[in-house]
């Protein structure tokens, strides 16, 4: 056999062998079900925000969140990250009224999250207890989830975060996307989110948090009692943050 024949035969043999050997790797999916049982079963976390109790000029929830979760603040509206943020709204049609009111905006932890639908590495996903969480070890920073979120609730870390107020919780390096995670690390320890605690400690108590699956919980009662509505639930995202007084 001549050189060309030899090369062709060896090449095919090698290609076939490497294909066969790599078959197990190629056909196995990333092992997502490492642990069958989970502590999160049965819970469906939700929040009710009572805007009638939200005070003008108060920033307790935003400050507590920023401090507890090491959320980046650069004093620049282009790159500041907000897990919970305030806005003041006024009726467009003046004949309806002039009353301005404060609203709080945050990740709505939708039951149909478009962000989780579009994440190419499943770094953003909905946990069993309904919280939409970002796995920052996996996020590649493509920002597609930010495009997909119709509430503009997701933020990218454009710049290194110079502050680290809470050393017991990690901060995020630049290059990944984040949003409110209902302080999942506190929930897993049986505590409540930082914003809820802060709002209560200043005496406003506008943030009510709890398990929507528990029919006796306050949050469940308020959410389903007909008092509360969600932001643009016509989008079909099924948000789990309800508003009273919107």
């Amino acid at each position: 056999m001549d050189r060309r024949d030899f090369l062709r035969k060896t090449g095919t043999a090698l290609a076939g062998a490497s294909g066969a050997l790599s078959l197990p790797v190629l056909t196995s999916c990333a092992d997502e079900t490492v642990h069958a049982d989970s502590v999160l079963e049965g819970k469906r976390w939700g929040m009710v925000i009572d805007l009638t109790r939200c005070r003008d000029g108060c920033t307790a929830c935003m400050d507590a969140c920023r401090k507890t979760n090491n959320v980046a603040f650069h004093d620049d509206a282009r790159w500041d990250v907000h897990w919970i943020r305030k806005a003041t709204i006024k009726p467009k049609d003046e004949s309806v009224g002039h009353e301005e009111k404060s609203v709080l905006l945050m990740c709505n932890h939708c039951d149909n999250p478009p962000c989780a639908q579009v994440c190419p590495v499943q770094a953003t996903y909905k946990r069993e207890d309904g919280i939409v969480v970002v796995d920052h070890h996996r996020c590649i920073g493509c920002r597609y989830c930010m495009i997909a979120c119709p509430y503009n609730a997701r933020f990218f870390n454009f710049k290194h975060n110079p502050d680290w107020p809470n050393k017991e919780y990690p901060q995020r390096s630049h290059g990944v996307v984040e949003s409110c995670n209902f302080c999942a690390h506190l929930l897993d320890q049986g505590k409540r989110p930082a914003c809820v605690e802060a709002c209560e400690s200043v005496g406003a108590g506008a943030l009510i948090f709890g398990n929507l699956n528990d029919r006796n919980s306050e949050v469940s009662r308020l959410a389903t009692g007909g008092f509360a509505k969600r932001i643009r639930d016509d989008w079909g995202t099924k948000p789990k943050v309800y508003y009273i007084g919107l």
Binding site: D80, Y144, L246
Partner: protein, 397 residues
């Protein structure tokens, strides 16, 4: 009558050739350095913000993907429809399509926040519902089919050429629909539209065909190899003009629908009349990009002139570049209507209409990718027999 088309490498020893290669290589280096800087320090060095998280790189990425469609259509004229007079261009068309797809992937890769993770995680943790998982699979498959197609063309394997040519054209439609779906399947007011994928395909075909015209003509002028004008004029008058009409049609329906239906009216009006992007739309895309070239190509005097065809092609490429920008940016700068009937008067975040200004590092990144395409193409012409010795139109029967 059998056409015996000869292909040969270009000599590539002249000073202008070496200068071109050197300039393109320096562009690639500049782009590489710019990407490295942004990867190290953070994307705040770009013009993107938390309201406009996608900018120039993504717009250019979809522009490149679109350009690959048209060149494949030209090579498909020979492979699928058997038009022998277009055989001379089949190889450069297939090669260029492959380069544009690689450039699209490169543009997206260099835009990621964590480029170090993007080489493994999208493969091990792919998400079947995400367009950003589906599309790179489509692009990679497309590249592999282009390689196979190119190989079949080099080896003059008739049946394989026909099969791969058909597969690549169909796959291209899938790729471009998928690219349009990245935006269309997302619940943002100016993105969410079933007409966006077809509009993307139509604009892709227009820009690709126009670019092929420009490449064919410049190649023939630069290498001194013969080119029959009728071939280019046919591409312009019978192919590009039709693509332009389809593009205009889909754009018209899309915008008319938005403005008509009450729910999307405000967003539609913002897009058409609400900012600088509207100027880009009416002047850049509609007038310069579609209407003027279509008119030039349909009128007999200009449509049968090579010069005017080339001019019209340049206008189309520029117009579609504006169109890609218009797909990405206006949807992001327009705020979502969170509280219908209410307006936001004060906030800690940029809740209203945002803005986006390109930064010089992003421009360097774009130059880098363009340089890569140019470099690979120009060096490819020297290393492989891609360019036809001559391109003659078939004599009348």
């Amino acid at each position: 009558m059998a056409m015996d088309v000869q292909f040969s490498k270009i000599e590539g020893r002249s000073f202008p050739y070496y200068l071109t290669v050197a300039v393109l290589a320096s562009f690639v280096l500049a782009g590489f350095v710019a990407t490295l800087i942004m990867h190290e320090h953070g994307l705040y060095l770009s013009g993107m913000t938390n309201r406009v998280p996608w900018g120039l790189q993504i717009s250019m990425a979809i522009f490149y993907i679109g350009l690959s469609a048209g060149s494949l259509v030209v090579s498909g004229l020979y492979g699928v429809f058997g038009k022998m007079e277009y055989k001379p261009f089949a190889r450069i068309a297939a090669y260029l399509a492959m380069l544009f797809l690689i450039a699209g992937l490169l543009s997206i890769f260099t835009d990621q926040g964590r480029i170090d993770r993007v080489f493994t995680k999208p493969f091990t943790y792919a998400n079947a519902t995400s367009m950003f998982s589906i599309n790179p699979a489509l692009y990679s498959g497309h590249i592999m089919i282009c390689v196979l197609y190119l190989w079949a063309l080099f080896k003059e394997k008739g049946t394989l050429t026909k099969i791969t040519s058909l597969v690549v054209v169909l796959w291209a439609i899938g790729t471009h629909t998928g690219t349009g779906a990245i935006f269309a399947f997302v619940p943002r007011e100016l993105y969410n539209s079933s007409l966006l994928p077809p509009s993307f395909v139509a604009a892709a075909l227009s820009s690709g065909a126009a670019l092929m015209i420009l490449v064919i003509v410049s190649l023939s002028r630069a290498t001194g190899r013969h080119l029959d004008n009728e071939l280019v004029i046919w591409l312009g008058r019978r192919l590009l003009s039709i693509f332009l009409l389809v593009t205009l049609y889909v754009l018209l329906i899309e915008n008319a629908h938005r403005v008509y239906v009450a729910a999307e009216h405000e967003a539609g009006m913002f897009f058409l009349f609400g900012g600088t992007h509207s100027f880009f739309f009416w002047v850049g895309l509609i007038t310069v990009g579609c209407v003027i070239p279509a008119v030039l190509l349909f009128i007999k005097r200009t449509g049968t002139s090579l010069r005017w065809t080339v001019f019209a092609s340049i206008l189309v490429v520029v117009g579609v570049l504006f169109e890609r920008y218009l797909i990405v940016i206006p949807g992001l700068i327009h705020p979502p209507e969170l509280f219908p009937g209410w307006e936001i008067v004060d906030a800690v975040f940029l809740e209203g209409v945002a803005s986006y200004t390109v930064s010089y590092l992003e421009i360097l990144q774009t130059l880098g990718v363009l340089g890569f395409i140019g470099f690979a193409f120009v060096v490819g012409l020297k290393v492989m027999p891609l360019a036809p010795n001559e391109a003659r139109a078939l004599p009348a029967a």
